[in-house]
Amino acid sequence: MDILEIFLTASFWTAAIRIASPLIFATMGELICERAGVLNLGIEGIMVAGAFTGWFGAYMGMGLWGGVALAMATGMLFGLVHSTLTVPLGLSQHVVGLGVTLLATSLTYFCYRVALPEVTSPPKIEAFQVWEVPVLSEIPVLGPALFAQTPLTYLAFATVAVVAYGLYRTPLGLAIRAAGENPAAVAAQGLSVTGLRMGAVIVGSGLMAVGGAFLTMSAFDSFFFEMVNGRGWICIALVVFGAWRPGKALLGAILFAAFDAFQIRLQQTPLGAQVPYQIFLMLPYFLSILALVAMSRRAEVPAALMVPFNRGDR
């Protein structure tokens, strides 16, 4: 197969969008947190927790959407822990974030062992099925990619729209952005910086967990250790790549996913037989770094990102 022909196949783009979906959720979650001024390094662990609870909820008979809701609630709970420590208490966001990641990851593995002590291979669930949008899904190449996906993928795209509208068109969104730019300005207008930042972190963490749940409930139908595999860290880079804007971050997620889908297919070409496959695995990360260098030059970081705010400080 010719290498460039890969880009013309519908299956390539379908895979790219599927791979992008969990990244989109988690990137939007991280973006909300950072726009409010809080770096949430708990993202990796929160995705692991979401992957487990979503799948486990469905396995225990809560239904697929019940599982998604459970994942979201789990994420919000970790968001509450993170934001309590970083916002009113003003602790280091790096340390708390990494702590939350370690805590969430270990706690998840522990719960898995406790809940399923006997199993050797993890049980499967009936995962989300592809739902083809009538008519639209018949457009060549892009049709199947965008309109023959699982409901969670549609939800991911809807999330981007809601986040973009919310941040730029509503008073609440303006207040959240201002909290990330200059919390003193927010406080001077009689708004609660603590409330805005905690709310943003809690909601954002909920989205991260849904991103994790996508892996076990839509991309796959079971839960493994190491499943999230650094996707959370990628999302943090995607937020920077997207210059803290939802639309650009969405493009970044799709671009990264396309690299990933591309390298999988590249491994099956004659070229793949000669080059060690690790090179291909490395490719999306390598290209992401290049793209990040090119894109983030002029990015405007939220001015108060990682700056704790204490009212009444002199």
């Binding site: 509503t170 303006l174 201002a178 730019e181 406080a187 207008q189 009689g190 001015a303």
Partner: protein, 515 residues
């Protein structure tokens, strides 16, 4: 307006007391503000003016006392209640988000937080109407970060007016403004009082208080010590009430200039962004002489200071020190050759906020003896030096181990003065040395500079305050768009004539004469 209306009290503070640890910031302060009135709160740094206003605005909670706005008692500790009651505050350090637009900053918090849409068009129209009514020109779509300080202040005032403020509190509003911007601000304020607003104006600049306020309240050490009608007082009386003793500005005797120490010959530097570089600047700094540099900020003062301080080198032209061109010109060389720098912004470039007084005192010379030897710091020597500076420059602080951020601006500046003057420099680069300082500290700094002059130091005084320049300088140059006027001897030019040069006139004639 009838007499009854004129006497309507819109704001009443009653028995406000606030302590921070052992420090009594406000001690039983009571005051009343009437409709359409401007009162000035006058006091030295640390007298408790800002604390009092922060209590009124709900940012601090008072230990005792009450705040009443339009007869309603305000619940303590909530800015929201103050805003809703019609109190608007313009803080000394602006509370604007630089990366957001002017409009975003103005509507922030003014709409119901949970409404599904933000009414941009309506907001824009209201802002335009207010801007028209109060003569506050500003582009609603500009990024706040791209605005000048004066424009930012207009945004702050618009923000308060947008929320229907009937009482405006302005905390040191002119500290960062040029004279022209100050005039614009006063125009706006007169417009506001004419429309029934009331204003509390916090300041320690006497002539501003005299020109804008109706009534002056003087705070000293947290206590309200006096109240005067502006019509029945004078700056001299206010100054002594503020300080608690007769104040006399240091006398300036004529001086006999010595040899040229630093000489710039036709120096040009490249433009930096929108700030012009120096163009063909020729300047002579002589021993025992103060050279004043007048001009509107942003006309090349920063570049000249950077050049003399060693932060940049001439693109063309030469810099001579004692007649010789230094081969390398960096801040270290500058300090080594006896140039003392009092930086324009003591917070940003003058000190490191979380370092102790000792550490800040040796920032410029920590590499040299006696503070370090063979790669090791000698903290005992550093401590001794810091204590010496604290004693001889009257730095009020708990001790040399205090973090400098806890000091008031005046005390911070005294430490910087001590740091740069103690080694006995030959050239002093004083860039806005008294900006934001109260009258006592101003006189102190000026006195020390005059002492240095008497000792034979060459001093370059950069200031936006024309009065200061005219009082202290033996020779005055005006800088405009990077060009330097000829030097005018003390007393040869009035403020109006200098103002003409500051506006950029006169330079062309000068070139024509030269050619």
């Amino acid at each position: 307006m009838t007499g009854a209306e004129a006497a309507q009290v819109v704001l009443r503070l009653d028995g406000i007391t606030k302590t921070f640890g052992a420090l009594v910031a406000n001690d039983n302060v009571s005051l009343a503000l009437e409709k359409g009135e401007v009162i000035a709160l006058l006091g030295e740094n640390g007298a408790g003016k800002t604390t009092l206003m922060n209590i009124l605005f709900g940012q601090y909670t008072a230990d005792a006392g009450t705040v009443e706005v339009f007869g309603q008692r305000l619940p303590p500790g909530t800015p929201r209640a103050a805003l809703e009651a019609g109190v608007g505050m313009v803080h000394q350090h602006f509370t604007l988000a630089d990366n957001l637009s002017v409009l975003d900053n103005i509507v922030l918090g003014a709409e119901r937080l949970w409404s599904a849409r933000s009414d941009r068009r309506g907001a824009r129209a209201r802002v335009a109407a207010l801007a028209e009514r109060f003569r506050l020109r500003v582009d609603p779509d500009a990024r706040v970060g791209a605005l000048t300080v004066g424009e930012r202040q207009r945004v702050e005032i618009l923000k308060a007016l947008y929320r229907d403020a009937r009482i405006l509190i302005l905390d040191e509003p002119t500290a960062v403004l040029t004279p022209q911007e100050t005039d614009d601000l006063f125009d706006t304020l007169r417009q506001a009082i004419a429309q029934g607003l009331s204003v509390v104006f916090i300041s320690h600049k006497l002539h501003e208080v005299m020109s804008i306020a109706h009534r002056v309240l003087i705070l000293r050490h947290g206590k309200l010590v006096a109240e005067r009608q502006v019509a029945r007082t004078n700056p001299r009386e206010l100054a002594s009430l503020m300080v608690g003793a007769e104040v006399t500005a240091p006398a300036v005797a004529p001086s006999e200039p010595g040899a040229s120490i630093l000489h710039l010959d036709a120096v040009s530097t490249p433009d930096r962004g929108s700030a012009p570089g120096l163009r063909d600047v020729t300047l002579d700094l002589r021993a025992g002489q103060i050279v004043g540099l007048a001009g509107v900020s942003g006309n090349g003062q920063a570049e000249l200071a950077a050049l003399i301080g060693g932060l940049c080198v001439p693109e063309t032209g030469t810099l001579r020190l004692d007649g010789e061109s230094p081969s390398r010109w960096t801040p270290h060389e500058a300090v080594q050759s006896g140039i003392a720098r009092i930086p324009e912004d003591r917070h940003k470039t003058g000190t490191i906020a979380d370092f102790t007084l000792t550490e800040n005192a040796i920032l410029e010379c920590y590499r040299d003896g006696p503070f370090s030897a063979r790669g090791w710091m000698n903290w005992r020597a550093a401590d001794r030096f810091a204590r010496g500076v604290i004693d001889s420059y009257d730095v009020r602080c708990p001790g040399p181990g205090t973090r400098i951020r806890l000091l008031s601006g005046g005390n911070m500046q005294k430490l910087i003065l001590g740091r740069v003057l103690e080694p006995g420099p030959r050239i002093i680069l004083a860039n806005q040395p008294v900006r934001g300082l109260d009258i006592g500290a101003v006189n102190y700094v000026h006195g020390r500079l005059l002492e240095a002059r008497a000792r034979g130091a060459a001093i370059l005084l950069i200031s936006e305050d024309l009065d200061e320049i005219m009082r202290l300088s033996d020779v005055i140059h005006v800088i405009s768009e990077g060009r330097l006027s000829p030097g005018f001897a003390r007393g040869s030019m009035g403020a109006a004539e200098l103002g003409v040069w500051m506006a950029g006139h006169g330079f062309d004639e000068e070139t024509r004469h030269a050619s």
